[in-house]
Amino acid sequence: MKSLPLIFLGVFFTLAFSWTGIVLTSHLQMRDLTPATAELVNADDEPITGRQFMVDGVNVKNTDGMTAYPLPLVGEAQRGKLVYQEMGCLYCHSQQVRRAGFGADFERGWGNRQSVARDYIEQDRVMLGTMRTGPDLTNVGLRYSELWQYQHLYNPQITSPGSTMPPYGFLFEVREVSEMRGPSPDAIELPDAYHPGEGYELVPTQRAKDLVAYLMNLQQDYELPEMKFTE
């Protein structure tokens, strides 16, 4: 093993091999995934069931009048995803439900079906996550109210005593209640122990509103041809 070209070729092909296998092949396998309704029909309008979503090598169309899932994020929720990203939420929260029987994702109420590749095709940045220092967030928009989200972000101890999640107080503003206009419609209800005091109110900044909009949009409450809810 003395020759530079030999080592170079070996080194090149080993890396090219794994890239072809892991990245390129998966890309080829998944590039044709499109948003889909739970019910698909073929060219003769016959419903297709089970795992099939290609007919004679052609992608079948969704039935008219049905919403195709997954939905892309828009507006506040789209901006909120950037807040989620810059705060590094992904280092403690995953966004993937594992299948029944593998871990306890279903039993903890994190989802009622396994997440599949199609769930992520509308996301410009996929953050599956590799840690669950906190719970999985795939369906967090279905599990809690907006008020809960605001209180929990402001100080996690309000809703989850003993939690190790950082407080995001800097996404909120404590303000004097305006005498002219009265309390702000955005003001967050707080238990007495956390209330900023008489004559003051807690209002979310735009970033907090965006982040909550994003969290409330995290919902896998639809079925796909290849993945139905588990009863």
Binding site: M1, K2, L4, I7, F8, G10, V11, F12, T14, L15, S18, W19, G21, I22, V23, T25, S26, H27, M30, L33, Y84, Q85, E86, M87, G88, C89, L90, Y91, C92, Q96, R98, R99, F102, G103, A104, E107, R108, S115, A117, Y120, I121, R125, V126, M127, L128, G129, T130, M131, R132, T133, P156, S160, P161, G162, S163, T164, P166, P167, G169, F170
Partner: protein, 496 residues
């Protein structure tokens, strides 16, 4: 050879072959002196900065209100600043100090145009500084191990090229008949990383792939930074230093060939085990699991080669700071890799995935294996570049005991705590409800995280001792040089 022979001549790193070998190694050392010191001084600064970020993150993990009102120090950012400061600040700087030097020595090739290497050192540290400031101010990219904002990418790529080219030039014009195993590893690592980085940048940041192909690319890249960059470099250093310091040839040439190609073939595929149970094709996961288990082959082979070279020379090894650190790292390479292969098995992964067990494993690999070996390399390299001995043996001992025991405590705390965390997270009663609420599992993990903070404090003390010794050695005036004996940690019979 070229239309411009004078340019090629200026790159040609070889000296006069008739001159004595010792003199020619001295020429190699002299050519690397200034750039290696630049990289090393920066590396130690990043090591301290990274440790400070780590301590903040560790305390926050049990006491979230600690510095809780400071946005730029929120856990998600400071933890990421820690990772990037350690991998790209400490890890890459120390690699850029040590790797071209070892390659140069093995090839008997000087580094020419050291100004280029100096420029690379300046660019690199600017890139990492901007990158980490970017992370702290909220520009981070949500891709693990690639968080530094896209505006530092050009500088990073430029630096890899400016450093890597000297490794390749040294090998191309080498003047030794034999090619040693360390040279393959170094050469391979300096080819692999730029490719990995470029492909990952294109497919994740500039032209992001569709859906979960991003996640697959992410873990193909991130695990390969460990497997095809930090690992081969540390193995090259161990292969160079163990026989060199102990004065005994490596156990088996053939095993080292098998070890190298098996690593090249299998490590590549292993990264997708981070996605077991995730929304990716099952066959990819299976391939990743198989590759992770196959990694047992290069690990055992390399382990035999390293450990059998040391066997019988423990007393001599214990006296040498270099050998203490390098052998500690080599032993941990065997252990961490075997644990890693086990973690890729689906049923083990069901428990360990998403828990602190994985965090413990990452520190086991990057610290107990890679960083400890690089410490050993620094202890060997500095006296040869500066013609002076380590100023203080006590500081070396503090460094050794604090870092050696500290990292063991960290790995035990995170892996035992993580294992319980995983079991409690998955535990179900007979009627299918969780035995522990989520907040109970969080509460039960806290004592282990306290132990982790304690271990972090030990590492911090060790790093401060190391930093004092390094800066003392570099910046003390020449008139201080009276010692001619090597600084050893115990008395040996062959001290002369």
């Amino acid at each position: 050879m070229s239309s411009n022979p004078s340019f090629i001549d200026s790159l040609k790193p070889t000296g006069d072959p008739d001159v004595d070998l010792r003199v020619r190694l001295g020429e190699v050392d002299a050519s690397m002196r200034v750039p290696a010191m630049l990289f090393l001084v920066s590396a130690v600064m990043w090591l301290l900065a990274g440790t400070a970020f780590a301590m903040i993150a560790a305390i926050k993990a049990t006491n979230p209100d600690f510095l809780g009102a400071t946005e730029w120090l929120t856990f998600g950012r400071v933890r990421t600043a820690h990772l990037n400061a350690m991998i790209f600040g400490w890890g890459n700087n120390v690699i850029f100090a040590v790797a071209p030097w070892i390659m140069g020595r093995l090839c008997r090739a000087r580094i020419r145009h050291t100004n280029i290497l100096l420029a690379a050192g300046v660019f690199w540290n600017i890139a990492v500084t901007i990158g980490i400031i970017g992370i702290l101010k909220g520009d981070m990219i949500g891709v693990e191990w690639l968080e530094m904002p896209a505006y530092v990418t050009p500088l990073v790529v430029l630096t890899y090229a400016l450093v890597g080219v000297w490794v390749i030039i040294a090998f191309r014009w080498r003047q030794s008949d034999h090619v040693y195993v360390s040279q393959w590893y170094l050469l391979a690592a300096f080819f692999w990383l730029p490719w990995l980085y470029t492909v990952a940048q294109v497919m994740l940041i500039f032209e992001p792939a569709n859906g979960v192909v991003q996640s697959l690319t992410n873990w193909w890249f991130a695990h390969n930074v460990l497997g095809l960059w930090l690992t081969p470099i540390a193995l090259a250093v161990a292969y160079y230093l163990i026989p060199k310091v102990l004065g005994r040839p490596i156990h088996s040439y053939y095993l080292s060939v098998v070890g190298f190609w098996a690593l090249a073939l299998f490590y590549n595929w292993a990264g997708v085990h981070h996605l077991i149970g995730g929304p990716v094709p099952a066959w990819v996961i299976s391939a990743g699991t198989v590759a992770s288990v196959m990694m047992v082959i290069p690990v055992i082979v390399t382990g035999i080669n390293h450990h059998l070279t040391v066997v019988g020379l423990h007393k001599e090894g214990w006296a040498s700071p270099t050998i203490r650190f390098v052998v500690f790292g080599a032993i941990n390479y065997t252990v961490v890799s075997l644990i890693g292969s086990t973690m890729a098995l689906r049923h083990v992964n069901e428990v360990t995935h998403f828990t602190h067990f994985t965090v413990g494993h990452a520190h086991h690999g990057v610290y107990a294996f890679f960083t400890m070996i690089m410490f050993g390399a620094v202890y060997y390299m500095m006296p040869r570049l500066l013609f002076r001995e380590w100023p203080n043996a006590f500081l070396i001992k503090v460094h050794w005991w604090m870092c050696g025991l500290g990292i063991l405590l960290m790995v035990f705390a995170l892996q035992i705590g993580g294992w319980f965390q995983g079991l409690q997270m998955n535990a179900l009663t007979e009627d299918g409800t969780p035995v522990y609420t989520f907040l109970q599992t969080v509460e039960n993990t806290k004592p282990w995280l306290w132990a982790r903070s304690l271990s972090g404090l030990m590492l911090l003390i060790g790093h401060i001792a190391f930093a004092i010794n390094v800066y003392w050695m570099i910046f003390s005036p020449r008139t201080q040089d009276k010692v001619t004996q090597p600084t050893l940690l115990t008395e040996t019979t062959e001290q002369a």
